[in-house]
């Protein structure tokens, strides 16, 4: 569960959000769409507790938070396996158990055999898969995804989306998925909220997903 009530956030004179409220139920997958600079990442950082709200309250399920950043953010001096294991050790796991669980997750994201590779030896897509493994390994009650596929090509994005969909469906996780690409959100999310140019949240009607996608695509094409 994620609950934001009347949240206001300012950075110096810039007001990013005013009186923003959003409720995400347990195990719900909510997509948050909006153009670059609309405050999507700030919204995730508020939920993760990385920045504090100036006003209002934010409540998040107790338990681990998984976070997949735009870029993999792996420790360059650690192997794939140790990158995943490090987050488990932060949660109090013993070294051996942490490495065993990390190895299982590395395998689940299709990287068996690459456990001892350092990030510099992996492609961008492989490194992002390690970061997905890291996020899921902590058994998160809340999973925050910040445009995790914005730096990968279309074919790779498709395969990463499939991995993500499969793992999310198998688990019990509340997900907030931030993207500027509505079609990505439509594939994954139960519901979608849009950050409007006025920085308000608007819930999209998803009764006809194809129509929503078609409208968005035609609006995008209209800008060409």
């Amino acid at each position: 569960m994620i609950r934001l009530e009347h949240v206001t956030k300012r950075f110096d004179s810039l007001e990013v959000f005013r009186d923003l409220s959003l409720h995400v139920a347990d195990n719900q997958i909510v997509g948050v769409v909006g153009p670059s600079g609309s405050g999507k990442t700030t919204l995730l950082k508020l939920v993760a507790g990385m920045v504090q709200a100036d006003e209002g309250t934010i409540a998040v399920d107790p338990g681990a938070i998984g976070y997949v950043f735009q870029e993999p953010r792996l420790l360059p001096w650690r192997t794939s396996l140790d990158n995943v294991a490090a987050t488990l050790r932060a949660r109090g796991w013993e070294k051996t158990e942490a490495r065993e669980r990390a190895a299982a997750w590395i395998e689940r994201v299709g990287l068996k055999g690459f456990e001892d590779y350092h990030p510099a030896e992996l492609s961008g897509g492989m490194a992002q898969r390690v970061s997905i493994a890291r996020a899921f390994a902590v058994d998160p009650r809340v999973l925050l995804l910040d445009e995790p596929f914005s730096n990968v090509d279309l074919a790779l994005k498709d395969s990463l989306m499939e991995i993500l969909q499969r793992i999310i469906r198998e688990g019990q996780t509340t997900v907030m998925y931030v993207t500027h690409d509505l079609t990505e959100a439509l594939r994954l999310a139960d519901r979608i909220v849009e950050i409007t140019p006025e920085r308000r949240l608007r819930e999209l009607d998803l009764s006809d997903r194809r129509a929503v996608a078609a409208e968005w695509l035609s609006a995008s094409l209209g800008k060409l």
């Binding site: 938070i65 953010r73 420790l75 001096w77 650690r78 490090a86 932060a90 949660r91 510099a120 902590v138």
Partner: protein, 246 residues
């Protein structure tokens, strides 16, 4: 490697040639130096003086590097600490070493403490600056990742900060060791009654050129052991991960 050997041979040849033309009382040849070195090593003089200097150097380096490292970490994590240490760093780097020796001699007299104090004081600013630049160079996005995943302070330090700042800190330690060796000898020349620096001064006052040069060789050997036996393996160890193809 080949060119390094050629460089060393060139120094020896130049030394030999110079020794043929310069007064024997102030310039010994490599062969005479070797004989003097063997004589010093055969008795206990070399080892006693070497151990005295080594002890002062190691303690001075450990204290100076420790203080510099702690100051650098504090300054890197807190802007108020950085502002506070800035005048200290400036004073430490600006006062000439010879004046520091003079003041130390006045305050602490001749002996171990003066030399160790001097070495530590010379080393602190270099280690401080390198540690500060190292901690400022740590990728803030990794720190943010660590905080999201609830890394403890210890884990943040061991998994993110320490490896992230290892390269500049190692560069600082290498530089500091070179400075420390120079400082220990200077302090022993001026403010001690033992150690390699003092032994060198004694040989110089007796115009014992072979022994003078033998002490210089001992000093070079000491530095070589520290650099190739300690610092380089340590650097290789802490930066092993950089060897993977980028």
């Amino acid at each position: 490697m080949l060119f390094s050997i050629l460089g060393a041979v060139a120094i020896l040849v130049l030394w030999e040639v110079l020794s043929l033309y310069v007064n024997r009382a102030i310039m010994a040849s490599p062969a005479e130096t070797a004989v003097a070195l063997a004589r010093l090593a055969w008795g206990s003089t070399l080892w006693v003086q070497l151990l005295i200097t080594l002890k002062r150097l190691v303690i001075g380096l450990a204290v100076g590097a420790g203080v510099g490292l702690i100051m650098g970490v504090l300054a890197g994590l807190d802007e108020r600490a950085r502002s506070f240490f800035e005048p200290v760093r400036w004073v430490g780097m600006t006062i000439p070493a010879v004046i520091l020796v003079g003041l130390s001699m006045l305050w602490f007299g001749l002996g171990d403490f003066t030399v160790i104090f001097m070495v530590a004081l010379i080393v602190i600013p270099t280690v401080y600056i390198n540690t500060l630049s190292g901690i400022q160079g740590v990728d803030g996005r990794l720190v943010e990742m660590g905080r999201v995943y609830r890394f403890s302070r210890r884990l943040l330090l061991t998994e993110i900060y320490a490896p992230g700042m290892a390269m500049p800190v190692m560069a600082g330690l290498t530089l500091a060791t070179g400075l420390g060796v120079r400082a220990v000898v200077l302090a022993e020349v001026l403010g001690a009654m033992s150690g390699i620096g003092h032994a060198f001064t004694r040989a110089m006052s007796l115009l014992e050129a072979p022994e003078m040069f033998a002490w210089v060789v001992v000093l070079l050997a000491l530095m070589a052991v520290i650099e190739f036996g300690v610092l380089r393996p340590l650097k290789r160890r802490v930066t092993r991960w950089r060897k993977v193809p980028q």
